[in-house]
């Protein structure tokens, strides 16, 4: 049995790759591609009459497979189905790092899931609060309630938009410019930042349209997303490349963090780099840059 460390609420999540929890050949070593988070799917990928079988597979995968540093999230079935309660029990019992709530429309949805998670944590002797949550917004109502959803629970680490269902509701199709979902993406990002949690973009399903995919990822980065949901391992690397900081950003971040730490150690509140005073408010961002740089193999120091 593989003991997993306590999940980290705000870790690097540039890439979150969906995998059908029912396919043993897929889930046995999905971590080898270097994805940040694996999203084992009990929902759309699993046929209605195989939901039970998928849970048994999932349980043993969680208990047996060494996913190493890769985060393991499970997408559970919607609250309007008969499956979600058992889905939550198996996630908690198996020790998944987090649960993705499908079709989330309100803070109440988050609270409903949170209650069931807490009950499961008690039932299976798991530390209360260990299991993290994220919500997928798939409808206009979900987008309009984005802030209350994001702020609903201290377990919430992030929110994602799910393009397929959302576009259906909006009667739109994917466009190269992304204008079809621009407003929704923007509203969700603002809500997530206001609540202090992460924000992830939807999947890009046309695997043959490499240029379209890259354009969307570039736009994601410019808009301020933390990462993207993926459907194929070959999408991982381009996202990591696009989300990577520049060398200049890394050098600057390192200098700032180092100077700040040294100043703090001496009890000095104000500090300068190259003779210029640096605002303490920049430090969390600089630390984030260094973490990102480390994950991209651009920084090997020990500041993060």
């Amino acid at each position: 049995m593989i003991p997993r460390p306590k999940p980290e609420r705000f870790r690097l999540r540039r890439t979150m790759m969906f995998m059908n929890a029912q396919k043993p050949g897929l889930i046995k070593d999905a971590y080898i591609y270097g994805v940040d988070s694996i999203m084992l799917d009990l929902e759309d990928a699993v046929a209605e009459n195989q939901k039970d079988a998928a849970r048994f597979s999932l349980y043993h995968a969680l208990k047996t497979i060494d996913y190493g540093d890769t985060e393991v999230i499970v997408r559970i079935n919607g609250l309007d189905t008969p499956h979600w309660q058992e889905d939550i029990r198996v996630c908690v019992a198996g020790g998944a790092d987090g649960i993705r709530i499908a079709k989330c429309e309100s803070a109440q949805d988050v609270l409903t899931v949170e209650k069931a998670v807490e009950e499961a944590e008690k039932e299976f002797g798991v530390e209360i609060g260990r299991t993290l949550l994220m919500a997928a917004l798939e409808s206009p109502k979900g987008i309009l309630n984005a802030y209350e959803i994001c702020a609903a629970s201290p377990r919430m680490f992030g929110v994602a938009i799910s393009g397929g269902d959302f576009r259906k509701c909006m009667q739109t199709k994917p466009t190269p410019s992304g204008i079809d979902m621009l407003t929704a993406r923007g509203m969700m990002l603002i809500a997530a930042r206001a609540a202090g949690i992460q924000c992830f973009d939807t999947v890009f399903t046309d695997l043959d349209d490499t240029e379209g995919f890259l354009n969307e990822v570039r736009q994601n980065k410019e808009m301020g997303f933390d990462g993207k949901s993926l459907i194929n391992p070959k999408q991982i690397r381009p996202v990591h490349e696009i989300f990577a900081p520049t060398e200049k950003e890394v050098i600057q971040a390192e200098a700032w963090v180092r100077a700040f730490r040294e100043a703090a150690a001496q009890g000095i509140g104000v500090f300068t780099v190259n003779g210029k005073m640096v605002d303490v408010a920049f430090i969390p961002g600089a630390e984030r840059t260094l973490k990102l740089a480390k994950a991209c193999g651009m920084y090997e120091g020990d500041l993060v």
Binding site: G25, K28, D29, I32, Y33, N232, P233, K234
Partner: protein
């Protein structure tokens, strides 16, 4: 007696001066007495050598029981000719005690398995053995152990007279009325006929079987009329769909691509990667995909490949046409792009199996290779590779040119996933050693790269380039941690196949497997 790769070879196989494998280049500098065929004189001018049927051709060349028949495998899984000839010899002429010496045998030849079970075919000599033939030989039903040789070892054995071919049958996509054969121009095109060339030169008798008769002279001929006794025209020599795929496509499998990219990285880190380097790759998913990534590194460094050899397919032809590779020399073609290019595209040439890989001749191409990228069914912690037997002990593979290119090249890279289903590819002991570990330099898997400790120079190259690598033992342990430690296979004493090293010594034997009964 234990050989240089630690395999126990039964003493009774070591007669007539046969030795166990002694290590790489053991035969270097020794002399070889070439065998000469006994051939019939055709002094009186013949208008045509065409006979009505395979049976007539066999009668004409005096086919009898106890003879050795040779075949090439350029028609691969689409081949009809082995089965047609065996049916004529066994069922129509009533022959038995037959030995088949083919350059490879596969699923297309499943009907031969019955002739083995019936005791009509008593010997098999081949570079590849798959399908039902592999199963019945593994089950101990062939009267003598099958002899497995590499593509280079086979022409060596023929030239040395260790295998004497009574009748070579050449399946020919086109032939003229006197037997000048080519691999293109008909309806069953296969491109190169490289594996048929040595057979035609050293056989006592040669029969050409074609389904496309063309005007004399069919030039440039791969097999020449001067060696041919008879020509038979049949409706079809093979199923074109199974002879060559439309186009070998580069894998889109992310696992293959990840490994292929690492192969290219390793290649680019070595000093051999410079203007004019030489290269061979297999057609397996990750091996073929290495082409793609290699091209990227070539562009970056502004260098071109000097020449490529091997089984050739579209992606390499594409590089030739783009001027990224100087010459392509071709012993067989895997797809229609390659078939349509050989002897057509400037600098795309045909060669014989001997010229390709024979360790006993004076200048095989493999000896000038910088890099070869190969697959494996299994590789053990001594870097020994098995491409012949499945992990269950059944014959279902082909040494092909694997041992030849590994031994000849400066840098041999094996690329394979760590596990396939529940089979550990990287294991403690391969079932059969087909390529000795001393010839293998680097292993690239989806879980990491390992360099043979015999190559500290390559280890330094990878370190300098910042390419992470681990010990092969750690990869093997990871594999077993995923799939569980396999039980040892159980064998009977009976040897069902003898695996010859390319130099003719005995590298390994395959015994009859005792299937597990619960």
């Amino acid at each position: 007696m234990k050989n240089a790769v630690g395999r126990d070879i039964p003493e009774y196989l070591l007669r007539d001066g046969r030795e166990v494998y002694q290590g790489k280049n053991y035969m270097d500098g020794k002399y070889l007495q070439k065998a000469a065929p006994r051939t019939r004189r055709y002094e009186k001018p013949q208008e045509s050598k065409i006979v009505d049927s395979i049976v007539d051709a066999l009668r004409q060349v005096g086919a009898r029981s106890g003879m050795t028949f040779s075949f090439h495998h350029h028609l691969r899984n689409g081949d009809f000719v082995v089965n047609m000839v065996m049916q004529a010899a066994i069922e129509e002429l009533g022959l038995d005690d037959i030995t088949i010496a083919a350059t490879s045998l596969g699923e297309a030849h499943d009907p031969v398995a019955q002739y083995i079970e019936d005791g009509k075919v008593v010997g098999i000599q081949t570079s590849g053995i798959r399908g039902k033939i592999g199963e019945v030989v593994s089950a101990g039903k062939l009267q003598t152990p099958a002899i497995i040789r590499s593509h280079g070892g086979r022409p060596r054995a023929i030239e040395a007279g260790e295998v004497h071919i009574d009748i070579a049958v050449v399946a020919a996509p086109t032939s003229d009325c006197v037997g000048n054969c080519r691999g293109i121009g008909g309806k069953s095109n296969c491109g190169s006929l490289g594996y048929a060339m040595t057979d035609a030169k050293y056989a006592d008798h040669v029969i050409v079987v074609t389904d496309c008769l063309v005007d004399f002279p069919n030039m440039p001929a791969s097999v020449e009329a001067i060696d041919v006794d008879a020509v038979v025209v049949v409706d079809s020599i093979g199923n074109p769909k199974k002879i060559a795929s439309a186009a070998a496509r580069i894998s889109q499998n992310p696992r293959d691509l990840m490994m292929a990219e690492n192969v290219a990285k390793v290649i680019a880190s070595t000093p051999y990667f410079k203007e004019g380097f030489s290269f061979q790759t297999g057609v397996g998913g990750p091996s073929l995909a290495a082409n793609l990534f290699l091209e990227k590194y070539m562009d970056e460094r502004g260098i071109k490949m000097g020449w490529a050899i091997g089984g050739i397919c579209g992606p390499m032809v594409e590089m030739l046409k783009k001027g990224k590779v100087g010459k392509v020399i071709d012993v067989q073609d895997f797809d229609l792009d390659a078939v349509n290019s050989i002897n057509q595209t400037p600098n795309h040439f045909e060669m014989s199996a001997s010229q390709y890989a024979n360790p006993a001749n004076k200048g095989a191409f493999v000896n000038k290779l910088d890099f070869v990228v190969l697959a494996a069914l299994e590789i053990d912690t001594g870097f020994n590779v098995n491409v012949l037997t499945g992990s269950d002990g059944v014959l279902r593979g082909a040494p092909g040119g694997h041992p030849d290119t590994a031994a000849g090249s400066k840098c041999c890279i094996i690329v394979t996933p760590l596990v396939r289903g529940r089979m550990a590819t990287v294991c403690k002991n391969v079932v059969t050693v087909t390529t000795p570990g001393a010839c293998v330099d680097v292993l690239v898997t989806d879980y990491g790269i390992a360099v043979n400790p015999l190559r500290p120079d390559l280890i330094k190259c990878l370190d300098d380039a910042g390419i992470p690598h681990v010990s092969i033992e750690s990869l093997q342990e990871k594999a077993y941690s995923l799939v569980g430690t396999p039980d040892d296979l159980e064998w009977e004493d009976k040897v069902v196949a003898v695996l010859e090293a390319r130099d003719g010594t005995i590298l390994d034997v395959v015994r009859k497997i005792k299937p597990l009964k619960l």
